[in-house]
């Protein structure tokens, strides 16, 4: 059996073989604990960890001292938001975020609400972008933190974090950015950007799973309360023995991202645009999210009158995601697409295709052919498509909701 074509790079990426090669020696030969100060095993591991810290810092133009290792972006989001909210609760208990954030941010906010914090959830424009003025209007005395993601995981739109950060800075509000989906895709210059805390993940950028980092600004110094207590690692902000091999992997992955981003992006954009041209010209297809302010990797498209899970079922040769309820545990369609004001049926009909470093032109050609064939087949089966062809306005039909 042929391996399915992988077009789900926003879910995770394979570890680049060059990264694997760097990681392996730290599992056995150089297994030391970077916190061991009394022998060479420890010194060698510490050196590797500090090199990786520099590599991560360089990709985002930060100081290595501003990088704190975590287990991934979810932990970074938890540490940044809960850590800052609790540390600064003497100043106020109001937080601001948006409805299309990743669950790692939304569920952390929900948890803080149970502790007595008040959270404002801003809606994006139909393009998926946040109007910075909406954020400005939401800030009030007692607002301590705003958390807005850089690149959305479902629709790939890029928020204007510079404009949003400037508003936060002027109003004395801490600004956290979840950048799990943007490293290696969008230039990040933390020396220039008014951002206080930023979450990173390795496995979305060709590094291993289980490792991430949190950027914590030093000038002006940002204070957070630790969530993990123990040996006082990472300057007391995150205790726990450092996983040297994972950290080495993240460092090398981010070094490669910095070196190869321009060429990678150009190639990937051409592939994505080919996909868009091939699929977008079918009748009744809708692109979800802004096409301009968007990473080159992402295409989120709805094929009206075709249900997303059955579409994925008919293309077993391609690995993608869907915003259809049937693919989620909650039986609710994508909350991100709903927040854009998309009708539920278009959310049910959506497919997310994300292109990456190892995607080939042949993959794209095969995908266009397979999806086109599947959509035709399923539309032939669809009573909604039939009604559409008969000129019936489906929004005027009285449906028996169940």
């Amino acid at each position: 059996m042929n391996t399915p074509i992988y077009l789900d790079y926003s879910a995770t990426t394979p570890v680049d073989p060059r990264v694997v090669e760097k990681m392996v020696p730290y599992l056995y030969e150089r297994f030391g604990n970077p916190a061991s100060r009394s022998h060479g095993y420890g010194w060698e591991a510490e050196e590797a960890v500090e090199l990786a810290r520099e590599q991560v810092a360089q990709l985002v133009n930060a100081d290595p001292k501003e990088i704190v290792w975590t287990s991934g972006a979810t932990e970074s989001d938890n540490l940044a938001i809960t850590g800052a909210a609790r540390f600064h609760q003497g100043k106020g208990k109001h937080l601001v975020t948006m409805t299309t954030e990743h669950k790692a941010v939304l569920d952390t906010m929900r948890n803080l609400e149970r502790e007595g914090f008040v959270v404002t959830y801003l809606d994006p424009e139909p393009s998926g972008l946040l109007d910075p003025q909406k954020l400005a209007a939401a800030i009030r005395p007692g607002t301590v933190l705003a958390s807005i993601m850089h690149v959305n995981n479902e629709i790939g739109v890029i928020q204007d974090i510079e404009a949003i950060g400037r508003i936060c800075r002027e109003r004395g509000v801490l600004f956290h950015v979840d950048a799990a989906q943007s490293t290696g895709k969008v230039l990040i210059d933390l020396d220039a950007l008014p951002v206080d805390l930023m979450s990173f993940s390795a496995h979305k950028t060709y590094g291993p799973k289980g490792i991430g980092a949190l950027y914590v600004r030093r000038r002006p110094r940002v204070r957070i309360e630790a969530q993990m207590h123990g040996g006082g690692h990472e300057r007391g902000m995150r205790s726990g023995t450092l996983p040297t091999h994972q950290i080495v992997g993240m460092g090398e992955a981010f070094r490669l991202a910095r070196e190869e981003m321009p060429a990678d992006n150009e190639r990937i954009r051409a592939l994505r645009d080919k996909l868009l041209a091939g699929l977008g010209n079918m009748d009744e297809t809708y692109i979800n999210g802004d096409l301009q302010a968007r990473v080159p990797h992402n295409l989120n498209i709805s094929f009206n009158f075709v249900e997303g899970e059955s579409l994925m079922m008919s293309m077993k040769g391609i690995a993608v995601s869907s915003g259809s309820a049937c693919t989620s545990a909650s039986l609710e369609p994508s909350y991100v697409l709903r927040a854009l004001g998309r009708p539920d049926e278009l959310a049910h009909s959506s497919i997310r295709l994300t292109v990456g470093r190892f995607t080939t032109e042949a993959d794209i050609d095969a995908t266009i052919e397979l999806i086109t064939r599947s959509v035709r087949k399923l539309r032939d089966l669809s009573p909604l498509w039939e009604m559409h062809l008969e000129g019936i306005d489906l929004s005027k039909v009285q449906w028996a909701a169940h």
Partner: protein, 129 residues
């Protein structure tokens, strides 16, 4: 999620896709579900003078299990009287297709479609729906 062999078979080779003339008095038509919920089933039955279902056809918008449930039902309906058809329960469909718990609503929808088509046919015949 893994699909059962039977779901895959009906999904890949759906039986009796299509429709009959809705205005034909011997045809009963039922449409259940809603686009916003992610599934809509349309079922047509053609009933002979002897009161036996000669043929059934369907079109379904929904996941693979919804398509398989409606395809299966069109096979089961053929040759049954209306009374016999009304005894088909969603649990029979779910069992035959080995549907997992999250997909039980697909079989419920198929049962509802049978009821809707039969009541449409009876209404056309001038009887009580």
């Amino acid at each position: 999620m893994a699909y059962s062999e039977k779901v895959l078979d009906h999904y890949e080779n759906p039986r009796n896709v299509g429709s009959f003339d809705k205005n034909d008095p011997s045809v009963g038509s039922g449409m259940v579900g809603a686009p916003a919920c992610g599934d809509v089933m349309k079922l047509h039955i053609k009933v002979g003078n002897d009161g036996i279902i000669e043929e059934a056809r369907f079109k379904t918008y929904g996941c693979g299990s919804a398509i398989a449930s409606s395809s299966l039902v069109t096979e089961w309906l053929r040759g049954k009287t209306l009374e016999q058809a009304l005894t088909i329960k969603n649990t029979d469909i779910a069992e035959e297709l080995a549907l997992p718990p999250v997909k039980i609503h697909c079989s419920v929808l198929a049962e509802d479609a049978i009821k809707a088509a039969i009541s449409d046919y009876r209404a056309k015949q001038g009887g009580c729906p």
